[in-house]
Amino acid sequence: MNTIYILWLRQLKRYLRSRVRIVGSLAQPLLFLVALGFGFGPIYAKAGGGNYMQFLAPGIVAMGILFTAMFTGIEVIWDRQFGFLKETLVAPVSRFNIMIGRTLGGATVAMLQGVAVFLLTLLIGFRPQSLSLLPLAFVFAFLIAILFTALGTAIASLLDDMQAFPLIMNFLIMPVFFLSGALFPLSGLPGAIEVVSKLDPLSYGIDGVRGALVGQMTFGFGLDFLVLAVIAGLVMAIGGYLFSKIQI
């Protein structure tokens, strides 16, 4: 328990100490909000979709969480290269607990980033439908954070340097984001895109967050929760296993 706590605390301290990182990683979501939100807003309204900013904002909050979560997970590679990982790996504690601590820490950091993006959307003009469902949005956001931090950690356990990072970025994070329904509704899509987007776990996370914030849904809270929880549990188990097999 203490192991998990100290690893969680470490991630949090590192995050809160790097203000540049906090501000820097808000730039991308802001750009998406402004460019897409205001750019596509008129045509979305003309097509009968309603207010595009209301639709887009929950997706961009999820995007902030996705990116931060994956990056904090992948930080294992930095720790490996710059030595700190060895310090944790020679300690007499279970590697699974180390992985849990890191994941919870990374997920907490991703949540803080998500909250920051959420505040940003409020500034731009996004208005959640009801505040009473805010805790529910929080639950789905946290599941997204856990799932993708664990996924980042699992991938990082298999890699020993950052060479593969552009691959992860272009073939995993970007497709997961763009095909998740963050930017467009998942109804009436061409068959192949619809299948892919239904296989994308982030779709369910965004569906849950959007449902809680503005009441628009495709799958329903129950299915969203089930899919996310099962996949998050699975990825954590695999990640824990891979992490325990790291040799340096």
């Binding site: 790097s18 030595g83 310090e87 007499p92 060479q163």
Partner: protein, 267 residues
């Protein structure tokens, strides 16, 4: 004979078709200062990684105070402290936080942990810098902090992989003074590697020389000198391992240091 802190028998590690460590055997006595020398790429670090549970051997046997690093990894992990070849501190944390992190991981009770951390930080003369972030420390200060951290949980054996690499003579001497004092006051066994032969000559009770994964000589410094008919340990070392300069592949860490600045999206 005094009891053994390390026992190694026919230890071998292969990476694909390269044999890094090739059937080595040696013992280290309890409370001994033992130097493990060899040219670059000879297998020193690989051996330390196997002894400290970071790598699984291909074959052979090891015991650390009677425990097997492969099967009883947690018992082994509790018994040693280590200073790695590369820095292993968290730069974004303070010296004190690095000590705390270590103490909590090793389940040292809070009172003991704080008392011991204070003692050790004073011992390596970093107490007045305890609340500074490690990234502002010099190489020598980081080394001293790593030594203090490695000792926090009262290990019985202390591994040091090139602890004085890249440090000036003042700091090196300073560090060796600490280590010898610890060896005396806490009866701690010290197992170290170095490229500075005079350090091994001055501090180690026995010296092992490893080359191409095999131990080519083992004994006191005087024994190695008389065996090779040389005047200094450095000459004995050259005599035993040859003059050829060893090739070592650039580690991925070197490549990373370049790319680190380009890809730092999350900091």
């Amino acid at each position: 004979m005094s009891p053994k802190s390390i026992e190694v028998k026919n230890l071998t590690k292969k990476f694909k078709d390269f044999t890094a460590v090739d059937g080595i055997s040696f013992d280290v006595n309890e409370g001994e200062i033992f130097a493990f020398l060899g040219p670059n790429g000879a297998g020193k670090t690989t051996t330390i990684k196997m002894l400290t549970t970071l790598l699984k051997p291909t074959s052979g046997e090891m015991r650390i105070y009677g425990n097997d690093p492969v099967k009883e990894e947690n018992a082994v992990r509790r018994s040693f402290g280590i200073v790695f070849q590369d820095p292993s501190l968290d730069d974004e944390l303070t010296a004190w936080e690095n000590m705390e992190f270590h103490g909590v991981l090793y389940k040292v009770p809070k009172d003991t942990r704080h008392k011991r951390a204070e003692e050790l930080l004073k011992f390596v003369e970093l107490w007045d810098r305890k609340d500074d972030l490690v990234k502002h420390f010099s190489g020598g200060m980081k080394r001293r902090l790593e030594i203090a951290r490695g000792l926090l949980h009262h290990p019985r054996i202390f591994f040091m992989d090139e602890p004085t690499l890249g440090l000036d003579p003042q700091t090196r001497n300073h560090i060796w003074d600490y280590i010898k004092e610890l060896n005396k006051s806490e009866k701690i066994t010290v197992f170290f590697t170095t490229h500075y032969m005079e350090e091994a000559d001055r501090s180690a009770e026995r010296v092992a020389i490893i080359d191409h994964g095999k131990i080519v000589a083992l004994g006191t410094s005087a024994e190695l000198k008389s065996k090779t008919g040389t005047a200094s340990l450095e000459d004995a070392f050259i005599n035993l391992t040859g003059r050829a300069i060893r090739q070592e592949e650039a580690s991925s860490a070197d490549r990373m240091r370049t790319s680190r600045r380009m890809w730092r999206p999350s900091r």
